[in-house]
């Protein structure tokens, strides 16, 4: 069977999602998107003019090839995030939203209380909500209960390129999740992305590490390979990460 990422019933063959911030030009971004193999591309609503047909970022994303995932970057509370999401839908975007509620402009760490609140509101309004969160396993379950389509725990603060510093908590989130787990933020190298997939994450989202590389296109291709390697290793039954991993043939089958 084909190994697909399924979010809210929609099937994606790539497990790499990419962000559109921080690129030196729309052309550089387009080439990186192409090389990444990504099918989901997130765009900060604060950066775009939804009513402007010549908006440089919106025009650079070919909607027939990519799912344009609007994000609420800049929102400091649930109200602001909800307003942004509604604006995007009213302007014709699909009802998908990457929910970011980050009251602190320095490290852009997500506010768990406001994120849960916004998720509850948006889910009721029919949005497919992908919330960005701290690697907090209980919060992940609460969001899942509220109807979130994925959870997106951070590996390290946004833009820090520090890798998966929240590894143990992410492992617990993965263990308990019934929705896809997308590791978002802080991944600085293809090996970090590979590790996330090896741990059993369903996907990763990368922006800074690609956008500020000397050669974003080549780096995007490298992340694509990293994600594929990590996923293959996970499917191949990597030893050592999870003690409850299924054995290839039953160990106690003889008892029946």
């Amino acid at each position: 069977m084909e190994d697909s990422l399924i979010i809210a019933g929609r099937r994606f063959s790539s497990r790499l999602l990419i962000g559109t911030g921080k690129f030196s030009s729309a052309e550089v971004m387009q080439r990186a998107m192409e090389a990444s193999g990504a099918e989901i591309v997130t765009v900060a609503l604060r950066r775009v003019e939804l009513d402007n047909p010549r908006d440089s970022i919106l025009n650079a994303v070919d909607k027939s090839k990519y799912l344009l995932l609007p994000n609420t970057s800049g929102a400091a509370n649930a109200d602001e995030a909800v307003r942004l999401a509604r604006l995007a839908r009213a302007a014709g975007c699909e009802p998908w939203v990457k929910l970011e509620v980050t009251p602190d402009p320095r490290y852009l760490l997500p506010d768990p209380v406001e994120t849960l609140k916004a998720t509850e509101i948006l889910v009721k309004e029919g949005f497919i909500v992908l919330p960005y969160i701290q690697a907090d396993p209980i919060l992940a379950k609460r969001l899942e209960d509220a109807g979130a389509a994925t959870v997106m725990p951070l590996g390290a603060p946004i833009g820090s390129n520090r890798g998966i510093r929240t590894r143990d908590a992410i492992a617990i989130i993965i263990e308990g999740a019934n929705v896809p787990v997308v590791v978002d933020a802080g991944l600085g190298a293809p090996s970090h992305a590979a590790l996330a997939l090896e741990l059993g994450a369903d996907a990763v989202l990368i922006n800074t590490a690609i956008a500020v590389a000397s050669d974003p296109e080549a780096m995007a291709a490298a992340f694509n390979l990293g994600v594929q390697a990590g996923r293959k290793a996970f499917l191949a039954g990597l030893g050592g990460y999870r003690l409850d991993a299924r054995a290839s043939s039953p160990l106690t089958g003889f008892l029946r």
Binding site: K22, S25, D104, R106
Partner: protein, 374 residues
């Protein structure tokens, strides 16, 4: 404890002496231990020292990389809109000094809207409203009405007007103003008195505590700045760095940014007490960037084109372009010169500046805020 109380016991001369005593080895240690969270206070002093002037290339590399990592390959663009040049203050260095016999003008909200439309048509979506201190003509009500008029044109509105109280700031925030900038001019209280000869601006403490009142009121962006050239730039930068850190701790929801207005030699004008060379200016930018990796750094059109273009890579995150510093100057350009607050050195149009930014490997960003956010 306010920032005023926090630095009250800091002796200007002692700080200067400490900074100037730093050695090459101190600078080397500061650069060698740099991490993405920024250097500590002692290392910051070393980076501001004369010794660090010999290590600029290495320091510049770190400043360049950390800025790209935090802010990406982008430069924000904004334009100032001068609403009024009426001013009750007498500041020795300023073109709006109440003693200067210039033609005084205040735009009506309708005239401001015409200027706003002109600026919007140039591409800008971020606007800075500027006015002199004359509440008898430019009152709180006036600013509220003007902001309401301009709000539909600009997702982001900032203020650079006279200091107000927390209660006065609130209605401005309510009508969508998200940023507040106030320049301390000099952090040296003794020197401050020499340059601010009349008007309410004489009150150093009231001015210094303005960003705190802005943070209390709930502005999303707070901007600081010292007028470089009034006093020793190394100490100004040190205290400005402390000020930014203080505000980041106390008003953690606000984005802190720093502007770098610099006095430049001009015929017949104010004599610059302690001129800041281009090299000094670059060192100041770099040291502050390594101390404050996530503060916004803003550069105005006071600086000449070639220097602006080269400073871009050292940590600048936003710039003004195509600026007019006289009220009505965008729509009635013939009225220029006499009423301008300071001389524009970079008079290139915004499209040209955006093209240069692109050539330097950055994306010019016109919109980076949304009206849904406030």
């Amino acid at each position: 404890m306010s920032f005023y109380d926090e630095i009250k016991s800091t002796g200007w001369a002692e700080v200067q002496k400490d900074i100037e005593s730093r050695s090459d080895a101190d600078v080397d240690s500061a650069l060698g231990t740099f991490r993405s969270g920024g250097v500590d206070l002692g290392h910051f002093m070393s980076l501001l020292s004369p010794a660090a002037g010999n290590h600029l290339e290495r320091a510049a590399g770190l400043a360049h990389n950390i800025t790209r990592q935090r802010f990406g390959n982008t430069i924000g663009l904004f334009a100032p809109l001068y609403l009024s040049n009426f001013c009750n203050n007498s500041c020795a260095y300023c073109g709006f000094n109440c003693k200067n016999p210039i033609r005084r003008l205040i735009l009506t909200p309708e005239q401001a809207k015409a200027e706003g439309l002109f600026i919007r048509n140039m591409g800008f979506r971020s606007l800075l409203l500027v006015a002199g201190e004359a509440p008898q003509v430019a009152s709180l009500d006036y600013f509220v009405e003007t902001a309401q008029t301009l709000r539909p044109l600009f997702p982001s509105l900032g203020l650079e007007i006279y200091p107000m109280s927390v209660e006065e700031y609130r209605p401005l925030i309510d009508c969508g103003v998200d940023g507040l900038t106030v320049f301390q001019e000099t952090y040296n209280e003794t020197a401050y008195e020499l340059f601010h000869l009349g008007g309410k601006k004489k009150d150093y403490k009231w001015r210094l505590e303005t960003p705190e009142r802005g943070g209390e009121a709930g502005f999303r962006r707070l901007g600081l700045g010292a007028l470089l050239g009034l006093d020793n730039w190394r100490v100004e930068a040190f205290l400005m760095g402390l000020h930014a850190k203080y505000l980041m701790r106390k008003y953690w929801r606000a984005q802190i940014s720093i502007s770098f207005p610099r006095l430049r030699p001009a015929a017949g004008a104010f004599e610059i007490p302690q001129e800041v060379s281009d090299k000094d200016f670059a060192q100041l930018l770099i040291a502050l960037r390594l101390f404050l990796p996530d503060a916004g750094f803003t550069l105005s059109t006071r600086e000449p084109p070639q220097l602006r273009d080269n400073l871009l890579a050292l940590g600048i995150t936003s710039m003004s372009a195509g600026s007019k510093t006289d009220p009505g100057g965008y729509t009635h350009p013939q009225a220029q010169d006499a009423e301008a607050q300071f001389e524009i050195s970079d008079d290139r149009d915004p499209g040209t500046v955006a093209e240069v930014i692109r050539q330097k490997g950055y994306e010019p960003v016109w919109k980076d805020w949304d009206e849904a956010l406030s």
